[in-house]
């Protein structure tokens, strides 16, 4: 690094030393244990005591494990965990503290200096190394006079192919199902009753008093033998009743609710957490993951947070027996955005929607 290119450093060089003086090593101050045999003995005893603490900890851990019995009460589990954990803690920390205390107080602490040798190897050593490589290539048949292209070719092929043995199953198991069309539909169908989570009992419209919040699964979900959790994760709904005067019906959705009873997907449109913190006075629905807040009284539009779209609304009606039923599936894919979501939204509706709107 040359300073001549920099005029400012030239100027300052006039009244400053050319470079810092090497201050050398600091004065070596002997420790108490170095000069006082009593302190030396004391430090030795301290180290031994720390190792002794570790031995004691091991004994505590083993004895606790042998003697303390867990009787199924939470208190006894907690006490046993505490006793064994404390013993293991002492066993580990005693060795660590003892070793460091030993090194700090009793082992030699003179600063030692090793001069750095030149980085570049001598010309003979460099030439020798290159000659070794050339000899190796010649010997093995990779290059030189007696080339063995068959061996080179088969070795390269084998090395390139070998990672596939590991990667192929990994990639094969990753996302076996690329049919995003499945995201677009849930198990809700026209006339399917809304039922309580987790019992699966149907809900009468008269049960849903103003201010109520019902956590809803589709009728028949509990009877599914396969994919129950997958279907539940897509189909869960929050059923609320607001004072009809507070509820602003959205254009085109005037008949999607029933006398203030309204149903929204519980899956957040941000990254798919269950949105279920409902504040019944403000009609705000809060997502616990990233605080997206939806205004239930205004079509669940986003009033705060990272979500970009309102929660999908489930059109509901009341059947002849007074139970709440779905008019159709959701009219758009539920949950967060994905690459072909708009395609499923624009064609709109699930297969039985055309019948649903005439309900």
């Amino acid at each position: 690094m040359s300073t001549t290119e920099n005029p400012t450093s030239h100027e300052s060089a006039d009244n400053a030393p050319e470079s810092f003086q090497d201050p050398g090593l600091p004065y070596h101050r002997p420790r108490r244990a170095d000069v006082d045999p009593k302190a030396d003995k004391k430090a030795e005893r301290q180290v031994a005591a720390l190792f002794g603490l570790s031995i004691l900890g091991t004994i505590i851990a083993i004895v606790s494990y042998m003697t303390l019995k867990m009787d199924g009460q939470i208190e006894s589990i907690r006490f046993t965990n505490m006793a064994i954990g404390f013993g293991i803690f002492l066993a580990m920390i005693g060795i660590g503290l003892g070793a460091i205390h030993w090194a700090k107080t009793l082992m030699r602490d003179h600063e030692m200096v090793e001069e750095r040798h030149e980085l570049r190897s001598s010309d003979e050593a460099r030439e020798g190394a290159i000659q070794n490589l050339k000899d190796g290539a010649e010997d093995s048949g990779i290059g030189g006079v007696k080339r063995r292209p068959l061996l080179v070719g088969s070795l390269v092929t084998a090395m390139l192919a070998a990672p596939l043995a590991l990667l192929w199953p990994q990639i094969g198991n990753m996302g076996a199902n690329w049919n995003t069309g499945e995201f677009a539909h849930t198990m809700w169908r026209k006339g399917m009753r809304l039922t309580r989570d987790p019992e699966g009992t149907p809900i009468k419209a008269s049960d849903v008093t103003i201010g109520s919040a019902f956590h809803v699964i589709p009728e028949g979900l509990n009877d599914l033998e396969h994919g129950k959790l997958e279907e539940k994760a897509k189909a869960v709904v929050l059923l609320l009743r607001l004072d009809p005067r507070d509820l602003n019906l959205q254009p085109g959705r005037e008949d999607w609710s029933f006398d203030g009873i309204i149903a929204f997907s519980k899956i957040c449109t941000h990254v798919g957490c269950p949105v279920a913190l409902y504040e019944q006075q403000t009609h705000h629905l809060l997502c616990p993951c990233h605080q997206s807040t939806f205004d239930v009284a205004n079509g669940a539009k986003v009033v705060f947070g990272p979500a970009k779209r309102p929660l999908p609304q489930l059109p509901i009606a009341v059947d002849d027996e007074g139970y709440i039923v779905a008019q159709s599936d959701f009219h758009e894919p539920i949950g967060p955005s994905y690459w072909s979501r708009l395609k499923h939204t624009s064609d709109g509706l699930s297969s039985d929607e055309t019948d649903g709107s005439s309900h």
Partner: protein
Amino acid sequence: MNALARHRYHRAAPVVLVLLLLAIIAGVAAAVSTASSADAATTATADDVTQGQKLFAANCASCHGLDAQGTTGVAPSLVGVGAAAVDFQVGTGRMPMQASGPQAIAKRPQFTQDQINQLAAYVASLGAGPAIPTAEQVDPALGDPAKGMELFRTNCAMCHGSIGGGGALTQGKYAPNLWETTPTHIFEAMLTGPQSMPVFNNANIDPEGKRDIIAYLKAQDQGSPGGLRLGSIGPVAEGMWGWLVALGLIIASTVWIGARSS
């Protein structure tokens, strides 16, 4: 200068600081006290209603109005809220409200249980509403905690936390911790939906289900098998513990390892 740097701190300072920090955190975490239980109401008499009306006029009417019809923008109408709502709001000290804020805060009840019953009788006489549950309806010993856990996870855990430790809502509102709430008050809160809480009427969660939820919450009294619960409000408290205590210990050890022995 060197001598000053060497002697500015006592050798034991890092250890003392870490112990102090541990003591402060443990002290904050260990704020637990016992709950008192309120007895369920007995049957109301006409005399109770008259007495209740007097209490209402003296303590509640300034906001809720002399006829309990409420005042727009200040206080809701109490017609039809039922005795359960009064017993909950007044019995937990939330009403009369001390100061306006994001939500009414629970404090020491201002009335005796008899007075609360009289107030409840008066408000119940204004319009039909949920009644105060009987002692049997809220007895945790009769409930099934496992069933209660299932119901709690579905309906309550999103706000009150997985074991009832409470949690934050929006704009200063919060769902309170439920461990010290009496069984009667838990039942009444579900029935009436106070403040931000939605209503969980008996058609949504039947009275047996409510009792199961109470049994689940009371089963939390035994504490956690893993040691300190740190308020059970989730990863934030546990993360703070990790950062402050564990990192403090690591820094203290590093300072000690690097320090020269005297």
